[in-house]
């Protein structure tokens, strides 16, 4: 079943096309990776889907419902949760309370919200940090809190924006394991923007590659890794040419 369907999405920023004519489908239960060099338009695409930007053109359908132009809180209520690269949430509140903000999306009862929030903190293995303040925590933990907050809204589609940026290899590995566990346990559909290939390659069932605002490739991780357009986008034109030449020799 197709959960999210984006057709022909275009977004301009003052003459600079951040996204042009992007179409993609996401099946329920999939993990999809979205990669591309910095500035390729990945975050813009995310923001269009979630509703921070209104696309200039194109349609976004979620669970067969047209959600084009929905505000972020509405898309969230439809079942799309997202994390941010930097989750700057209130430093006055503890981790548990921050996650409760997410739980409050579905309930107005403080006790239920609290229970759910602690449950989710267990899932992301942060129960011991529940009473700490956000500003006191290392980046890796903050990222996990961000993830927990998004999870607390009980999304069907979880969109993760650079969930591993700034993490060291060990932390990255732990994050990958965590994501896989969550995916398995909750049967979530996950859509990941990522730079760190160590994250995307192992977990994604499918990868979409953007460059210069356009979708240049889509496919299984293995295929993507050997796709010339992708290599070109990442390593540069000459590198690709070089490989070709070497290949022909």
């Amino acid at each position: 079943m197709v959960l999210l369907e984006v057709t022909d999405l275009t977004k301009d920023f003052g003459g600079v096309a951040a996204n042009s004519h992007i179409s993609l489908d996401i099946e329920k239960g999939e993990i999809i990776g979205l990669i591309g060099p910095n500035g390729a338009g990945k975050t813009t695409l995310f923001n269009c889907i979630v509703g921070y930007h209104r696309p200039d053109q194109g349609k976004i359908r979620f669970k067969d419902k047209n959600i084009t132009g929905f505000k972020p809180f509405k898309t969230n209520r439809e079942g799309i949760g997202r994390t941010f690269q930097i989750m700057s949430i209130s430093g006055d509140l503890t981790v548990l309370e921050n996650v409760m903000i997410g739980s409050f999306c579905r309930t107005s009862d403080r006790r239920i919200a609290r229970e759910e929030a602690s449950e989710i903190l267990n899932v992301v293995e942060l129960e011991k940090d529940a009473e700490a303040y956000m500003t006191e925590l290392p980046i890796a933990t903050q990222k996990r809190v961000g993830l927990a907050m998004a999870l607390a809204t009980r999304p069907e589609l979880l969109m993760l924006d650079e969930v591993a940026s700034g993490l060291n290899p060990k932390e990255t590995e732990e994050m990958v394991a965590l994501l896989q566990r969550i995916h398995k346990a909750k049967g979530l559909t996950v859509f990941v923007i990522e730079h760190v290939m160590e994250v995307v390659m192992p977990i994604s069932q499918r990868i979409i590659v953007l460059d210069g605002g356009q979708k240049i490739a889509e496919g299984k991780p293995r295929d993507i890794a050997s796709d010339e357009r992708v290599i070109k986008a990442y390593l540069g034109e000459k590198y690709a040419k070089g490989r070709k030449n070497r290949g022909s020799i």
């Binding site: 003459g15 060099p37 700034g166 993490l167 290899p169 730079h195 390593l235 540069g236 000459k238």
Partner: protein, 234 residues
């Protein structure tokens, strides 16, 4: 020319650059590559004086600049072309360029530099009266780079000049950088297009989570597996 010694940089108390050292000799093109979030931009901003190191020292032409303000650093001859380009949208191309020469008092020199930038990027000349914000991404990058050159810097720091550009433009942009190098400019380049960046470079450094993990000449680095591994997970 530029000598960075064991610096540590912190963002609101949290160290993001640990113990990084590198140097740039006159006339060299030095590339710093690394994944997103590895601290490349922070490093350049520290050299440019927007941030200051908590430990270590930065020397430029044997003068300590680790506590100097951005203004003084620009006056000493280091210009920084930021990642987001940061051109002045409501100003025309020419006004943008002239602002680049803010610290230059000599009118003739400004004219000379202007001609030089126009010869480097002819498209800017065609658009000189147009407002910055109406330019395309590639043109904006050219404008930002050109603006960085307007003050005849001794050291030009380019932060991801190919960011968000169409592949064709990426090549053009990088060719322009190569031209600059050939003309004898000293350049510190941060790039994601690892291959090109390292091919052009005299020397390079690979950064990961705020630490230098490899250094060497461009060719040496290209031979290491780290490049492939870090960027494609192969």
């Amino acid at each position: 020319m530029l000598k960075v010694e064991k610096i540590e940089v912190r963002y609101s108390g949290v160290p993001v650059i640990h113990d990084v050292s590198f140097h740039v000799n006159g006339g060299e093109l030095v590339s710093i590559v690394g994944a997103n979030g590895s601290g490349k931009t922070t490093l350049l901003k520290t050299v440019a004086g927007t941030l200051h190191p908590a430990k270590g020292s930065i020397e430029f032409e044997d003068e300590d600049i680790s506590t100097s303000s951005t203004v003084n650093i620009v006056r000493k001859g280091i210009t920084y072309v930021p990642e987001e380009r940061r051109i002045f949208g409501p100003l025309s191309v020419e006004e943008n360029l002239k602002l680049g020469a803010y610290i230059v008092d000599d009118r003739e020199e400004i004219e000379k530099n202007l001609d030089y930038v126009y010869s480097l990027f002819p498209i800017l000349k065609a658009r000189q009266k147009q407002l910055g914000e109406t330019l395309s991404g590639g043109e904006q990058q050219m404008l930002a780079t050109g603006r960085g050159l307007m003050s005849s810097p001794k050291l030009l720091m380019l932060d991801e000049p190919s960011l968000g550009l169409m592949p064709k433009l990426v090549d053009e942009m990088l060719e322009a950088v190569a031209t600059l190098k050939e003309e004898g400019k000293t350049i510190l380049l941060v790039e994601q297009k690892v291959r090109e960046a390292l091919e052009m470079a005299d020397r390079g450094y690979v950064l990961q989570t705020g630490r230098t993990i490899y250094k060497g000449t461009g060719e040496e680095l290209l031979e290491t597996d780290i490049v492939k591994k870090a960027f494609l997970g192969l």
